[in-house]
């Protein structure tokens, strides 16, 4: 069932792919040019190759397709610069929830991720940073003990090495299968960030589609600067829960990044294709220095 060596190899292979050929399309050109995807927003068909060149943003309407953690690094960080941070993948099953550890193992095997949060050090346009990316394909990016622990370790690493911290969120919230322990991760991550902030560390939080629940109500909202990708759903209670509570249909565009920006909860909405430049600009503005060598 579990082959830790194979799992590890799969993950490392993906990381190597990112390091060696970060700007190559994830699909082979011969294949990608013929495979088409219809945009869920405007219906326009684009070849996978075209989408890939466009960082999975619809060329016609600008719809941002949800992307995984590895692809995020692929389009964002400098070639060969990402190094995963070790540790912090506890298997917490405090509720003895049926099949949960098996499900985790299967997902680890399938995705090459150790849990929903991938953390490491990287360089973005020459700026060194600690980065964390939540992957929505791993139990909806939900936060359990492993996500909380890995985030806290990343914060502590950034603090110890005087590096800026960048976190991309995409999450359904707390991981129900871990019960109260998942709730406590909200306190743990918030506490780690409060310390980091007090010591002068710079934390940039980027909301991507969708970010809700306990992640919104903890680390994702605590950035010195808060950014979001266009159209991202961001909220505490999900739209379905609110509709059931207030018993009415929610207005068009409710809980989108645009709505949050209008209500004062975001610094800016930034197109995925401009994020690399924006992040580099922000790191420069906060006094970090570019270094070209690894």
């Amino acid at each position: 069932m579990t082959d830790p060596i194979r799992r590890r190899r799969l993950g490392l292979q993906r990381l190597r792919d990112i390091r060696r050929k970060p700007m190559e399309p994830a699909v082979a050109p011969s294949e990608g040019a013929e495979v088409f995807r219809a945009c869920p927003k405007c219906g326009e068909s684009s070849s996978k190759l075209k989408l890939n060149e466009n960082q999975m943003v619809c060329p016609a309407c600008g719809y941002h397709y949800p992307i995984g953690a590895y692809y995020r690094l692929h389009i964002l960080v400098d070639r060969g610069s990402f190094q995963e941070l070790d540790g912090g993948a506890p298997v917490a099953d405090p509720l003895d929830f049926p099949n949960y550890p098996d499900k985790l193992e299967a997902l680890r095997e399938k995705t090459g991720l150790r849990d929903a949060l991938l953390t490491g050090t990287c360089r973005i346009d020459g700026y060194r940073a600690v980065i964390g990316v939540l992957d929505g394909s791993f139990l909806m990016g939900s936060m359990g003990a492993a996500v909380g622990e890995r985030l806290a370790l990343a914060v502590e690493y950034a603090d110890a090495h005087h590096l800026p911290l960048i976190v991309f969120s995409a999450s359904g919230g707390a991981r129900m299968q871990e019960g109260i322990v998942s709730l406590m991760q909200m306190a743990k991550t918030s506490a780690a960030l409060a310390r980091f902030s007090e010591r002068g560390g710079f934390y940039l939080s980027v909301f991507t589609h969708p970010t809700t629940g306990g992640v919104t109500a903890s680390f994702a909202s605590l950035g010195d600067v808060l950014l979001a990708e266009p159209g991202a759903l961001i909220g505490f209670a999900g739209p379905r829960v609110i509709e059931q509570t207030v018993g009415q249909k929610l207005p068009e565009g409710f809980q989108t990044a645009e709505y949050l920006e209008e209500h004062g909860f975001l610094d800016q909405i930034v197109d995925r294709r401009a994020l690399r430049a924006t992040i580099a600009q922000l790191l420069g503005l906060h006094g970090y220095k570019r270094r070209r060598t690894l």
């Binding site: 993948a89 917490a92 310390r195 409710f254």
Partner: protein, 314 residues
């Protein structure tokens, strides 16, 4: 219907009967003795309650709430309203009071007892303004070196349109972050329902106490069943797997001490609960008061930093 509901109904029936006894005194005295015995037997069956029973008790309308504790354990209470930004949220009650003569800041979720009160206090479900008021009061406690005692009793933060528009997530996150840095003693008491992030927002404490039949969970059992099994009617099954009782949570290290309740629940004899809580609060407070501000912040940080750091799998 859970077992405790049946017991509660029969106890209420006996109490009503006892109150309405009239006529021959010798017959009445006999019946009174019978009632007392039946009552005692019924209460004995409350020694073993299921998690679903505890959820029902934790939500009981007559269960003591923050206002009751303020009246019974504190003196000289001065309420402080408002978040200084836009509104006052009465579902969180807060202010300064004396605990055994020592000024402390008290903050707690308020549900109210009558329907009118329930509506006024939004059934104990705070809006962002409530959490921002709590942060304001905590910052003042920090400034004046007052210990903070919080009372947790909420189904969760209010999941509504306006609450979202005004940043419910951000308000809770800031509460968590700010609480973790305080250099004064912080004690949280889970008195009823500790529901989700809305409860935890007042729970980043040095010592977390919990009433014997209170519950504390990532989400309501109904919500848990709806998310994991797409069926909110399986809530009693959810109660069994969620480990939401004080006994389970102490085993998991999420809470520190359990305050015993009288048989049948806190509402059957509130004074007994006040006495037990008073003792435990005094003990915790004097223990925490021996620590320096830096130690308090560090210990609180380490307490939450360690949560969930179990078996490492590499």
């Amino acid at each position: 219907m859970t077992m405790i509901q049946e017991i509660e109904a029969r106890l209420t029936g006996l109490e009503q009967e006892e109150a309405s006894l009239s006529g021959d005194e010798t017959v009445n005295a006999l019946r009174r003795r019978q009632i007392a015995r039946e009552r005692g037997e019924l209460l004995e069956t409350c020694r073993t309650l299921t998690p679903a029973d505890k959820v029902w008790l934790a939500r009981h309308n007559a269960r003591p709430g923050v206002a009751d504790y303020l009246g019974a354990l504190f003196t000289d209470f001065f309420e402080q309203k408002g978040d200084r930004l836009c509104a006052e949220d009465p579902s969180i009650l807060g202010g300064v009071a004396r605990f055994h003569n020592r000024p402390v800041t008290v903050i707690g979720h308020r549900k109210g007892r009558t329907l009118e009160e329930n509506l006024k206090y939004n059934f104990g479900m705070p809006s962002p303004e409530g959490y921002r008021k709590a942060r304001r009061l905590m910052a003042q406690a920090e400034k004046f070196g007052r210990p903070i005692i919080t009372f947790i009793d909420t189904p969760g933060a209010y999941p509504g349109l306006e609450a979202e528009a005004r940043g419910q997530g951000e308000a809770i996150a800031r509460c968590l972050a700010d609480m973790s840095m305080l250099t004064v003693p912080v004690i949280a008491v889970v008195t009823g329902e500790g529901g989700s992030g809305g409860a935890l927002a007042l729970g980043v404490a040095n010592e977390v106490l919990m009433l014997e039949h209170a519950v504390y969970s990532v989400l309501s059992p109904e919500g848990f069943a709806a998310i994991l099994w797409k069926d909110s009617s399986r809530s009693s099954e959810a109660c069994d797997v969620m480990k939401l009782t004080a006994q389970d949570l102490r085993a998991l290290g999420v809470i520190d001490e359990i305050i015993p309740e009288p048989l049948g629940g806190a509402h059957r004899d509130p004074q007994a609960v006040y006495d037990a809580l008073d003792q435990m609060l005094s003990k915790s407070l004097s223990m925490l008061s021996k620590q320096s501000g830096a130690q308090l912040a560090e210990n609180r940080y380490q307490k939450f930093r360690a949560m969930g750091a179990v078996k490492e799998d590499k």
